[in-house]
Symmetry: C2
Subunit: 295 residues, 2 copies
Amino acid sequence: MTAQIINGRDVASRIQDGIREEVTAFKEKHGFVPGLAVLLVGEDPASAMYVRMKGRRCESVGMNSYTNTLPADSTQGEVIAAVRAFNDDPAVHGILIQLPLPDHIDEEAVLKEVSLAKDVDGFHPVNIGALAMKGRTPTFTPATPTGCMTLIAETGVDVSGKKAVVLGRSNIVGMPMSLMLNNANATVTIVHSRTQNPAEIIKSADILIAAIGKPEYVQADWIKPGAVVIDVGTNQVDDPESERGYKWVGDVDFEGGKEVAGAITIVPGGVGPLTIASLIQNTMKAAKMSVGEEI
Amino acid sequence: MTAQIINGRDVASRIQDGIREEVTAFKEKHGFVPGLAVLLVGEDPASAMYVRMKGRRCESVGMNSYTNTLPADSTQGEVIAAVRAFNDDPAVHGILIQLPLPDHIDEEAVLKEVSLAKDVDGFHPVNIGALAMKGRTPTFTPATPTGCMTLIAETGVDVSGKKAVVLGRSNIVGMPMSLMLNNANATVTIVHSRTQNPAEIIKSADILIAAIGKPEYVQADWIKPGAVVIDVGTNQVDDPESERGYKWVGDVDFEGGKEVAGAITIVPGGVGPLTIASLIQNTMKAAKMSVGEEI
């Protein structure tokens, strides 16, 4: 059996086509376009690259994008002042704080400053609290796990009642992912560095989300035949055969895994494009909320 | 094998003895005692009974307790005004909103009103958000799961690396319980009404927390030999042999379970007393915070 290969670029591109139309209609009606503001502290090249990609994608759907880059040695007060400036700016509908922040900055205190109406990354503690609690609906949900849910939906598999294993428990992916799968009525197990016999638990998963950042950690024979495998990992590994000397691989052995899984994402081009698409969807939603439109 | 029987009354009583001493020392130093305020909306007899028990327990450790009982048809505004009055009252260090609130009241909006410094039940969305996120520490954690963690610690079993199954995903017990066990490095699975083959998953648990409110749902042969079983259920069932015509049973078959488990809580008298003890611990902490004492 060969798995359905999930190409995130195609899915993201379809979502963005829809958003582009919405932006056009929104502009005609309201005279302005949605704007996403990104705050970047320091000059980490990977972060800077992500920020540029987000900006380009915004522009491609007709949204405005703004970036404020602060020096790595900015004070807590300076970072918070930059957040507040975005909060007060009526042209900004969504605010993204590029994580991680430098070590001397209190991340929680900064994320808490983001206006709830503009928290398109869904990391305000109130949004995470609402995600955790039954009967509450967060205004926004974090982009990467939201994108993973979209990719699972693409396969046509009904999450309800399925066994889901989330590999990794980061604040950005694993934790909100496990809450979202639980809210969708999956039976969720979180596997992490202290888990004993991870292979055995992973093998029980109808839906596997791999988000631990270990290159090709999940072996093909750890995958339940027919499972949906969503690989969030993007790991750079040496590749003497490639001109640039390296290649990107996920947290799952893709070549082996695609012979066992029912559906599997490619890396790169699987989850990554959906993260940005989800962020743009959230920004569209924030802009609609700002003019009191039903969402 | 017969399990270690966990008697929550003994554990709670030991905790309360410690708090009683702390209250005495606190009063000598500061001239006042900690106070817990409870807001009860409506006249549900079970809720009224819990509130009375909390009041009595506070008094037994030398704390003040206040209860504001509002009629069941109170408006949202009246309920929020009552919360704010507690927020503003310097004699009140901890505030408890007795749940559930009547259906016409927006629970989330009410819980959000509780001052973070007085949120001894840990249900403010910011406290739940902090519980969910790595590297954050909630000021207070919900009383029942905190009590369960205390009972697990009583058995001497190290949670880290163990497989834990949480049966039920309520906001009050299951959800915060799963987050606390994950934070303690257990490998956590949440089992709920949509789970397929719950018995099989339950059987894999080194630590089982049962909190679904189904009398004796967990059969003895679903329990892993040697497991720690914490039974949060308190279900009233008919008992023609008893004078009052009913008895209380947990979510686990206790008689069968104690022959298989390594440790098991009794019902009643297992988790219940710990819930109140945890609430009192949190109120002590809130009072210390109010005078700037290290906690």
